[in-house]
């Protein structure tokens, strides 16, 4: 038996001994200035990483090598190396970045600057601001269409979804939605844009072609005062069947049937649920519960919360690293 065989074998053994047959869920803890990592198999926190001040929006690069973190109070977007957990560099983001969206080109990051009423476009490779677009007051949510043509900013005070042409970086259209729009998500085919309105208590489904609202979704939870139903983070399943809408202080996640646009289920999770993330298999949904400081795991098939995992204080955003890309 030669050396290479032995080394190959031992590599195999090492690999099989690896506990990570599961994905990692990154969760930003707004109050703790940390990111918690949850193993989806054990549903336990396996590590906690120190990051910049008040981390909120987080997202993974398209190649899953980097984690982008909006460190709101540090006024920067941090780029973390997934392999080493180290902050590689910071991007000029403009003031108070809260949410952002990564262009499919994996190069341009669209950032909402809440205090300045602008959206900043940053080139990650050159680490420079490519453009700043004036939008409505208090921009919050950010989305880029899958075909890369459109960037959407929602402005909380102006109550609009702003359509930015990604080629010209110009604002070309506004769609008026209900009060305090928070999150924006395109469907996988880019035909619809979903926008959640926190105070309005609705989700508006906008036709991309006409940029008109085609459907408004209302929510109602038995025994819950309507003003506590505040739609924020959204997640749309790839199969086009469901949308999961985090309903803030109502402590529920709504499941919307996308063929009828009707809520079909309300799932009890922790207190003040902000955002959600789906596993690559789309079988589990992770929700960040701000006030209760934990993450609830929802089984998509049974539409039931299975477990809640303690993380740091005020978890906000979530992003899932598929197991194939887990370092080591």
């Amino acid at each position: 038996m030669n050396k290479s065989v032995i080394s190959a074998l031992s590599t195999c053994l090492l690999l099989s001994a690896q506990p990570s047959h599961a994905h990692w869920v990154y969760v930003s803890n707004e109050k703790d200035d940390t990111v918690s990592v949850i193993d989806t198999e054990t549903n336990e926190v396996i590590k906690t990483i120190e990051v910049g001040e008040r981390p909120r929006g987080i997202t993974l690069s398209k190649d899953f090598k980097h984690l982008f973190i909006c460190a709101s109070d540090s006024d920067t977007v941090q780029i973390m190396d997934v392999a080493t957990d180290e902050i590689l560099f910071e991007l000029p983001s403009g003031e108070d970045p809260e949410q952002f969206a990564l262009h499919p080109d994996n190069r341009h990051l669209y950032i909402a600057n809440e205090d300045d009423a602008i959206a900043t476009v940053v080139d990650i490779e050159t680490r420079t601001v490519v453009a700043q677009v004036d939008v409505g007051v208090e921009p919050e949510g950010m989305a880029v269409s899958y075909d890369g043509k459109w960037a959407i900013v929602t402005s909380e005070t102006t109550n609009m979804a702003h359509w930015i042409d990604t080629e010209t970086h110009e604002l070309v259209e506004n769609t008026l939605v209900d009060q305090r729009p928070r999150d924006a998500e395109f469907t996988l085919d880019d035909k619809e844009l979903w926008v959640s309105s926190e105070i309005g208590g609705t989700v508006s489904v906008i036709d991309t072609e006409s940029k008109q609202i085609k459907q408004v979704i209302n929510f109602e939870i038995k025994g819950m005062s309507p003003d506590r139903i505040q739609p924020v983070g959204m997640e749309l399943t790839a199969d086009g069947k469901y949308a999961f809408i985090a309903l803030g202080p109502s402590n529920h996640v709504a499941v919307v049937d996308r063929s009828t646009y009707e809520p079909i289920e309300y799932i009890l999770v922790g207190r003040r649920v902000w955002h959600t993330a789906l596993t690559p298999e789309q079988d589990k949904l992770y929700t960040t519960n701000g006030v209760s400081g934990d993450v609830s795991v929802v089984d998509v098939k049974t539409m039931k919360a299975e477990k809640s995992v303690k993380v740091g204080r005020f978890p906000w955003g979530a992003a899932i690293l598929p197991k194939a890309h887990i370092p080591g």
């Binding site: 025994g223 009890l268 609830s296």
Partner: protein, 270 residues
């Protein structure tokens, strides 16, 4: 004691109990309506109150309705245990207890039959309750439905044994109101059936200890854990010990040397 005789006797007592239970339709409905009223009305009012802290066996947030479901199963077992004590007193006054006790089998076994028959009826009721609760969206895991059966039997035996003991002490039918006031209500309210113990601890440490020492709390917790496919050893130990203690005391209470018939009846014409 021969085994086939013993089993036939058990069957006879169980069938009689079931026939009477079904025959008295009012009893069937009231027994079922009681926990359902709690579930539909009481729990609905407190729907959003709970879900603040996660305690075992729960792993995530639950609605109040889900929290009190095991407590309501406990309530069914409790009321049935007391109901069987009532029926013992009733049987004694009506004389049918004499029929049972003149049966050529050991007295402890006859009392055990009576107890098991009562538990059997209570478990039937619990199943109906769980079925209705399922439509009310209270859907524990499938394994829980299986695991809860032995837990219900254990809880039922303990509460039935307590009822048996009480019936050996109560001399007259009218005293049942007293049992309601001094046994059922305190046992039910001062337990983890309606509120988790940590909630009690927040309001009063004394109350917390009363609830912790209440055997009914452990019966409810045994059911609660089982309903989620889990097991609480402490609850099982407490429930088993209490069952043994109550049963022993009841058998002593029914010892013929003590004369179990109330004076009123035996000395009907003093």
């Amino acid at each position: 004691m021969n085994l086939s005789h013993a089993l036939r006797c058990l069957r006879g007592v169980a069938v009689r109990e079931a026939l009477r239970f079904i025959g008295q339709r009012g009893r069937f409905f009231s027994a079922l309506v009681r926990p359902l009223v709690w579930l539909f009305i009481f729990a609905a009012g407190f729907r959003s109150v709970l879900g603040i802290s996660i305690i075992p066996p729960y792993e995530t947030y639950i609605l109040y309705e889900e929290y009190i479901t095991p407590g309501l199963l406990g309530m069914i077992m409790l009321f049935n245990g007391m109901q069987s004590s009532l029926s013992m007193v009733y049987d004694r006054e009506m004389g049918s207890m004499s029929v049972l006790l003149t049966t050529p089998l050991p007295r402890w076994y006859l009392l055990l039959c009576k107890l098991l028959a009562g538990v059997f009826v209570a478990v039937l009721q619990s199943c109906v309750f769980l079925a209705i609760a399922w439509f009310w969206d209270i859907r524990p895991p499938l394994a829980g439905y299986l695991a809860v059966l032995p837990a219900l039997v254990c809880a039922g035996l303990m509460l039935g044994a307590l009822g048996l003991l009480l019936s050996s002490l109560i001399k007259q039918l009218e005293n049942f109101a007293g049992v309601m006031n001094f046994v059922i209500f305190p046992m039910f309210f001062a337990s983890s059936a309606l509120y988790p113990l940590w909630k009690m601890q927040e309001s009063s440490l004394l109350l917390y200890w009363i609830c912790t020492l209440n055997p009914f709390t452990h019966a409810v917790e045994l059911i609660r854990f089982a309903l989620y496919g889990k097991f609480s050893p402490l609850a099982l130990v407490v429930v088993s010990l209490c069952t043994l203690a109550f049963l022993t005391a009841a058998v002593i209470g029914y010892d013929p040397a003590r004369g179990f018939l109330p004076k009123k009846m035996s000395g009907a014409k003093p």
